[in-house]
Symmetry: C2
Subunit: 396 residues, 2 copies
């Protein structure tokens, strides 16, 4: 922490964007602490993401009851509220940009911190370009956040470790539950992941707990129903039970979602969910095998009681470092580089390198023959999860 007279005078504004994670509020705490340590001036918060910025729904840190901030690192949801709002390109329509500029001027903001995923980094990119275009002196900084782990460049994203840790803990519980009867079920566990299999791939950690996942399906590899049924039949004949982990966004060989559903959100994403139930029904009707579909649903991103300490710490640090954006005179997203023995380097990368882009799970981690995640993925994911010893259970 700096002496008062060494602190940089700046007013900053922080907002949360996109879907909640277990640790986005840890980043908020990092922003608060980083700002207090290194800056004088006021820290403001926009409520409901960029909506608050457009509509002047702004509060200051000083107005917040301090007792509410104490547990912020371990609080799920988005404490300030969020939004999924896509700004139009400002050269086409600068209507909302002008409203934002008015608010930025009103509070004399010169550091804007957006905490979100690849859609939110699109907002960061557009605002950054706009402010440069009109020559307004403000630094725009992004703090990464997404359970999907699909941001380019950065080794991983805050939120991913905690969601994966919950998934592994849930799979371990479901695995033991399914050992109860001599004839068990085929459990199909549906995991979030519209475009990528990062979250699903975390199931490989069950190997380190002495448990087996029989089949894994991810959006990066095409899904074939007949092949699937042959495999399930064989697994059940052999073991009288089984565990299948599947991403919500798996696609067939034509590139269509296995479960088709027409509802879309404002980013034109198809709203999914339920492919696990679909596959369970398929197995029961075609093979007459008992199944259970379990959809981990929003608990993956919100069960902060099982958040990874490593993830909390990194999310906090990313927020802390973002507050130095003015001092370093930098724009862009805080990014992680992994060094030897899992020490992380933090740097800033241009928004253009992450906005709207998707980092897929490399297929080197997926075994197309066995439909399983390869052991080599353990080395990537293990350090993100914290200790799993609490769910290393004895098995008879």
């Amino acid at each position: 922490m700096k002496q008062e007279n060494q602190k940089n005078y700046v007013n900053a504004l922080y907002l949360q964007s996109g879907g909640p994670t277990s640790v986005i509020n840890a980043s908020m705490k990092g922003v608060i602490d980083g700002f207090k340590d290194n800056s004088s001036g006021n820290l403001y918060f926009s409520l409901y993401g960029v909506d608050g910025l457009i509509n002047d729904n702004i509060i200051s840190l000083d107005s917040l009851d301090k007792s509410k901030l104490r547990k912020l690192e371990k609080t799920p949801g988005t404490f300030l509220g969020s939004a999924r709002h896509r700004l139009k390109p400002f050269l086409e329509d600068d209507h909302e940009y002008l409203k934002i500029l008015e608010v930025i001027k009103k509070y004399d903001i010169h550091l804007l911190i957006l905490n979100g995923g690849n859609d939110s980094m699109d907002t960061g990119y557009k605002l950054n370009e706009y402010f440069k275009y009109i020559n307004y002196p403000i630094n725009v900084v992004g703090v990464p956040k997404t359970i999907d782990n699909d941001l380019m460049i950065t080794d991983h994203t805050p939120g991913y470790g905690s969601a994966s840790r919950f998934i592994v803990s849930a799979l371990a519980s479901i695995y033991l539950d399914n050992l109860a009867y001599r004839n068990g079920k085929i459990n199909i566990v549906e995991v979030m992941g519209r475009d990528t299999g990062w979250l699903t791939a975390s199931c490989v950690m069950l190997q380190t707990l002495g448990m087996e996942v029989d089949l894994v399906y991810i959006p990066e590899s095409s899904f074939d129903e007949n092949d699937f049924l042959v495999r399930v039949n064989d697994i059940y004949a052999r073991k009288r039970r089984g565990m299948i982990v599947v991403s919500e966004g798996i696609k067939n060989s034509d590139g269509d979602f296995v479960l088709n559903n027409k509802a879309t959100d404002s980013f034109n994403h198809v709203q999914l969910g339920g492919v696990g139930s679909y596959l369970a029904n398929l197995i029961t009707s075609k093979l007459n095998i008992k199944t259970r579909a379990v959809e981990l649903s929003v608990l993956q991103r919100s069960y902060a009681l099982q958040a990874s300490n490593v993830d909390i710490e990194e999310a906090y640090t990313a927020g802390y470092i973002a507050t130095l954006g003015k001092e370093f005179n930098v724009d862009g997203m805080v990014s992680f580089t992994r060094e030897k023995n899992y020490s992380l380097n933090y740097s800033f990368i241009p928004f253009a390198e992450v906005a709207n882009k998707i980092k897929y799970l490399p297929l080197k981690y997926y075994d197309e023959e066995t439909k399983q995640i390869k052991k080599s993925f353990i080395r990537y994911i293990k350090p993100l999860l914290g200790s799993l010893k609490d769910f290393k259970y004895p098995i008879l």
Copy 2:
């Protein structure tokens, strides 16, 4: 613990029966410790419940790797395997009874301990009656276990507190998740409970966390779709979000399950699941309001990472006390009586008082006007859950 020469010589056999809970293995640990402290002789375990007893699938405590027993209290699932197997009345068909008797004689068992719910206590009842009928000197003792909390006489059942604690923790996470957007969703959380609303009623604890559950539906009260839709419409208009908690076994005014599904298990129970999705689809199609159905599924009974310490302790003690069945020359199920300031008394009650019977949630705890659980239920359930301070989150 007794001196060796004060110990009662007896061989005992313990088995697990019915669905898993987070704490049934804590009862097993109690049985092991109670037996070691107070008895000489051998302790045996039947694998896969009464199936192991019929088919001589028996192991001894001495044959078990001791390191596996160390974490038993916190291990979900049924460590020994379980079964749902209904014995026929022995006067009609004593085929399986004769096979069981052979195994009991082979291992010279004079104390039989069954750990399970009301179906398992039916097995205890029938075996107890059979052994009396043939005048075979054995005590048959039950250790209660069911997340459903639907056993007669006993104040509550081991497993219920932990399942409820997980439900409350999950609801708190889901509640915060749903605060993210200015326009939230109607979340419908489906909780286990084929016949009774005990588990669902645990949602009343959200009041103590500063959170609201808007509507609650339990099997003990009939469900009306039109009334439901009117209420949901009103809630969404007022709050732009909502939380509804519903038992899987809710019924309409004709007494039929709201979600009809013809599959049945060997006890002729209808296999349920999915009523939350059904209601969510109903809301979306009739009211055009965004919904999300979350089925807590098997995590309710298997997410031992969130087990209640009080529940673990009581499950352990119930197992421990069961090992005294021979010494006290008693048959029947260990039962809890609640005294002032929540001290528990443990006693034995006849199997006939619990076998096949169902204890419903008293309707004094349900407000038919508001479709909510009354505050008075907090006094009943709170002591079973352990401290909830970890999920008392700050809300802006």
